[in-house]
């Protein structure tokens, strides 16, 4: 276990190094921030001074090494726009996205797994047909459209939930959180549901497929032949086997919610990272873009690690210390 975690860490370092190169080069290809940031009225001397201040007069590889040098000291550069450390700006916006992502993931698991179990156990019943038809809608309706409909229905006509913002927050450890207040929760519900819709459909279908795969297995027949109740068979013998693929997808999807919650955040004016990164791209705020991408990479690596550990807990056949190039 320890050996394999160590090996994972080494792999993660390689991924990080590779990502810094890709990200840095990629960001350098798209546009020149000088054109946007410096007022057209500025004279040539002023331009040269600013370019030198941003470090943009240096060749790309020197810029890269400057960045790596800073990154190793926890400094991912200073935002051109806010004139503050990029990392600090990202971290200010991260909690909002994180709590939205967690809420959406919890919601999709809480709805998707029970519905998927039901659909798998009673494949021909009427509720199953409705569930499966609904999941197709969940897959295919575009997020922005559903988001706007949700605002229209529940915020504008019914007035049950607010349409934008985070609402009241409580500051814990110097970070503002919405989920600790009722008002914050109300604000969170619609955007979280909007994000959860696709994931719910995915988890639901995965669970259903899992149930249909597990039910005809001999060990389920044996469990029934042992005289166990249906409830115990489903909750103990079926569920744990079904969860194995579901955990992987939930993990990956959690990462993708964080990375791609842009649309929902924009619609519900949720002040998270997604909104920040769109704004930063618009003004070519390179340090913020780079810092954001690096944070996302680190998050993905962490999530994968957690998924791997969960995997070994669920499935004893997979042992991290078994080696074999894992």
């Amino acid at each position: 276990m320890l050996v394999s975690l160590l090996r994972r860490l080494i792999q993660a370092t390689f991924v990080l190094v590779a990502m810094t190169v890709i990200v840095f080069l990629g960001v350098n290809v798209i546009g020149n921030p000088v054109d946007i940031l410096i007022s057209p009225q500025a004279d040539q001397a002023e331009r040269t001074r600013l370019i030198a201040e941003f470090g943009l007069d240096q060749p790309v590889w020197i810029q890269y090494f400057e960045f790596v040098k800073g990154a190793l000291q926890g400094d991912l550069g200073t935002s051109y726009v806010f004139n503050e450390p990029a990392l600090k700006i990202i971290l200010q916006h991260l909690p909002a996205t994180l709590e939205l992502a967690v809420a959406a993931t919890l919601m999709s698991v809480a709805i998707g797994i029970p519905l998927g179990l039901y659909a798998g156990l009673r494949p021909k019943s009427l509720p199953t047909r409705i569930i499966m038809a609904g999941s197709i809608l969940g897959f295919s309706l575009p997020t922005f459209w559903v988001g706007m409909l949700l605002i229209l229905c529940f915020a504008v006509y019914l007035g049950w939930f607010p349409s934008s913002g985070r609402g009241d927050t409580v500051t814990v450890f110097g970070i503002p959180w919405s989920f600790l207040t009722l008002d914050g929760l109300q604000h969170m519900l619609l955007p979280a549901f909007n994000l959860a819709l696709f994931k719910t459909s995915l988890i639901l279908r995965l669970t259903r497929a899992g149930v249909q795969e597990v039910m005809p297995q001999d060990y389920i027949r044996l469990a029934r032949a042992k005289g166990l109740s249906n409830r115990r068979i489903v909750a103990v013998h079926v569920l744990k086997n079904v969860l194995i693929p579901v955990v992987t997808v939930v993990g990956l999807e959690f990462g993708s919610i964080i990375a791609f919650s842009v649309v929902t955040e924009k619609i519900f004016a949720w002040p998270g990272m997604g909104k920040l990164i769109i704004d930063s791209i618009n003004v070519l705020d390179r340090p913020v873009m780079v810092a954001y991408l690096m944070i996302i990479v680190v998050l993905f690596i962490l999530i994968n690690l957690v998924v791997d550990v969960l995997y070994t807990i669920l499935d004893p056949r997979i042992r991290l210390n078994a080696g074999r190039g894992r």
Binding site: D218, P316, R317
Partner: protein, 625 residues
Amino acid sequence: MIENRNIAMQGDDVAENVRKAFEMNRPPILSIRDLTVSFLNNETWTPVVRDISFDVGRKETVAVVGESGSGKSVTAMSVMRLLPAETSRVQGSIMLDGRSLTQMSDEEIRDIRGNEVAMIFQEASLNPVYTIGFQLVETLVRHRRMMRNAALAESVRLLEKVRIPAARTRLNDYPHQLSGGMRQRVAIAMALACQPKLLIADEPTTALDVTIQAQIIELIKHIQQEDDMSVLFITHDMGVVAEVSDRTVVMYKGDMIEAGPTEQIFHHSSRPYTRALLTSIPQLGSMTGKSEPEPFPVVDHTTGEVTPPDPADRSVVPAPDPMLRVSDLTVRFDIRGGLFGGVTGRVHAVEDVSFDLFRGETLSIVGESGCGKSTTARAIMGLVKPKSGQIRLDGGELGELSAEMKVAMRRKMQMVFQDPFASLNPRMVVGDAIAEPIARFTDLSARGVADRVAELLELVGLAPDMARRFPHQFSGGQRQRICIARALALNPQLIVADEAVSALDASVKAQVVNLLLDLQQRLGLAYLFISHDMAVVERISHRVAVMYLGEIVEIGPREAIFENPQHPYTRTLLSAVPVADPSRRHMNRGLDETEIKSPLRSVDYVPPRLPIREVAPGHFVRQVS
């Protein structure tokens, strides 16, 4: 036929039979009358089991035997009410000890399951994600209302009862950490948890190696006597039937053909189907005194008419040079682990294997799982890279040929695999599957390819117009014929058949073996026949090689290996094969829990090269360490 309960007395166990006769007079533990089971298929109810009636007496073993699709498992499942209620309908009566199982509420039947009637299935029936202990405790808590600690102690006792070594430490193991035989022992322990009156064993030994199968059968017999339990044994193997059962029920396509004492079924059956089944099962020892292979006699399922095997000369034409010569073949697989992926162990899959194979000859390689027989075949086909050794086909050394030459050489040898469904692409019509190698390697026109496909299908006994069908439209036996046709497409000289008939039903197996023998004679093929089934090997081979832990321990003419085995392992293997002779049933082999050894060794292991001596012309035996 149910009334027919006279017991064949045998001098040495009169007391046993008196006890049995006494038991017989008590009402049976399980009584099935007019059982008809129907499945819902496209909105119509199709009967899959029709009018079955039989009893299982107290302390009696009844075997239900039949080929796949005979309804034997469905019968067993309907006793336990394990068939899905929505898609199956059970009519008739099933009485357990005077109570009707079919009339019970779901709650009542659950109290019976695992408690009064227990069931074991094929080997992989333990839940892979829970420990052995968890699964044993579960049953004890459910039916015997035990507390956790008491249940754990009882679990250890149960595991010891089924002779699992170091039972206490096994409780925390997961199923995959145990061998197949040990897993089946655990399942039996679980079944015994509540001292059931009836044990239903549904093909419990089918997936096991032959020596392990013998152990499990012996264990079930032993426990049955210990616990005074009745056993309903579902199997397709007449050899197993003869070993275990007092009475036998023969089923065919959902109908009960006959039921009666096992001796009577085996020796005096009047039913054509039973006789056909008995004739078509490969029986070890049926070839004693014959040196050449011989096809199975063919028995008509409805008339019972026996067509004796074609008496053609099947001897190998002597040739100065072998077609295939394998010398000192060694295949090892590295096991990697640790932080930097270093080699932590090595599987010595094939160790110093040498043999010759002549034109028109069948050499069988036999052995149990992990002995290296399949790896040898794969190394010859070039599917795994040998560590050392030479493989010469028609004098050409395969390792030294150019890539182009290798392809040409490969055309001379083809492979047939075990699972005929998995080795045919389900989305490709079989004609295309057979045509693929022809179109790739010959200059025939489209018309010519189609003609060749038709010719090949006829050669293996199928109709040419079947070329347009998909694999799922064929039965298992027909699919294997298609695989053989595909292997023959390029006129090979050597066919490597890796367990090619192992997955087939007895009568189909006989037909495919007959086809292989027929093709050999017509086309002069050489076969490398890989199998664990000693009885089939006895039919088909000219020579036999016995492999154990990667090495050939004995090789020689078939007659010599089967009638005069020299190596202890060969003898173990031969004595473990179930013999279709009910009179041997009361022979007690003794309980044994020897596991099949693993060829996984440490990195620095150097295999001992034990000398081989020739005990008779062409009969070589490796010295025992």
